[in-house]
Homo-oligomer: 208 residues x 2
């Protein structure tokens, strides 16, 4: 069984427990195994199916109760089975979902770290800086580079802090591990989406 | 006397007390009057001087004491003469400067509202939304449009709130009036930079 999470930037496969990513414009292989996928990108979905007609869309069998309109299937899969948690999927965008007593209360969408930084250099060449993971957030910045990285990190961290309070936060996604270190009440689950996809498949007795 | 504040997006003139903006790629007039300018954009500065060789760079006579390296002259002019204030200049970027007991303690640079929003649509067409000033920040969003506008506003407001605490905040710049409404301890000074430019000119007995 192969799992695939199609996002806005990559095809993310789990093949025999191993991760394999392809950018959306890259060639993807033809697989013999069963493929279960979720996707937020129609064009990329068509590309997967053309090469792999056996691929099955998991979203058809997922039941998730929310009053949120237009919630991406990746957010749904990350949020499903949670009880009292903030779920943060930190990719090209950073989705934040609030689950209380097993009920999805809504959420919001921050800019992802990389896209955030790219926006600065579009304003002015003087605002082009490289990302650094070692950022001092306890000191008011005294140069442009720090002024941007400080603002970027605060812009991401503070809105999540405001809604999390004493709740547990689960981070996933490419920048999830990095961001989780700024939150005491947090854990990083690299494979949250794939794990939940498996659980959905098991719960539905899909032939896999 | 004509004043001119050259930013990353426009030439901003004050002519006989009236505001006149030109985008950086627009033609600018040849003036007969004295012009005092500040600029964060070298290319645009050359354009002004070519047409108006009489234009004088105010930055040559400004004395501002800070340990911040590479502080833009617009931020310096906005921050000069302040005693205990947070100065927020909300344009294509949003600069935030902290002044305590007449001393500039540093600052940071947030994305401007418009550039912030544009970054979302670059991630995915599904994240393209139009700006709305009427945003409910007390309710967790239940649809994509609100999820983006909520996150955008929180990303700007919370970092400013964190450093302002009980301090007074002065807002200026194109989005200054809009943003100031989210802060109790705030005032909006549309002409902060031009007013301070005049004060600098007066203090230095420049022939104007």
């Amino acid at each position: 069984m192969i799992l695939c999470d199609i996002g806005n930037t990559t095809f993310h496969f789990l093949i025999d427990g191993k991760h394999k990513k392809y950018f959306l414009d890259e060639k993807i292989p033809k697989f013999k195994d069963n493929i279960f996928y979720i996707s937020v990108n129609e064009k990329a979905t068509k590309k997967l199916i053309k090469k792999n007609p056996q691929a099955k869309n998991l979203s058809n069998i997922i039941k998730f109760d929310t009053t949120y309109k237009g919630m991406g299937i990746d957010r749904i899969v990350a949020s499903i089975y949670q009880e009292n948690t903030i779920v943060v999927d930190a990719g090209s965008a950073i989705t934040v979902d609030i689950i209380e007593n097993k009920i999805h209360k809504g959420g919001f969408i921050l800019l992802g770290v990389h896209n955030f930084l790219k926006s600065y250099e579009k304003i002015s060449k003087k605002l082009k800086v490289n990302f650094e993971k070692n950022i001092n957030l306890d000191k008011i910045p005294l140069q442009t580079k720090d002024a941007i990285l400080y603002a970027l990190m605060k812009s991401i961290i503070l809105p999540i802090k405001e809604v999390s309070l004493n709740k547990n936060i689960i981070f996933t996604g490419g920048d999830g591990e990095f961001l989780s270190q700024f939150f005491e009440n947090s854990q990083y689950k690299k494979d949250l989406i794939f794990e939940n996809m498996k659980r959905i498949i098991d719960a539905n007795n899909c032939i896999a």
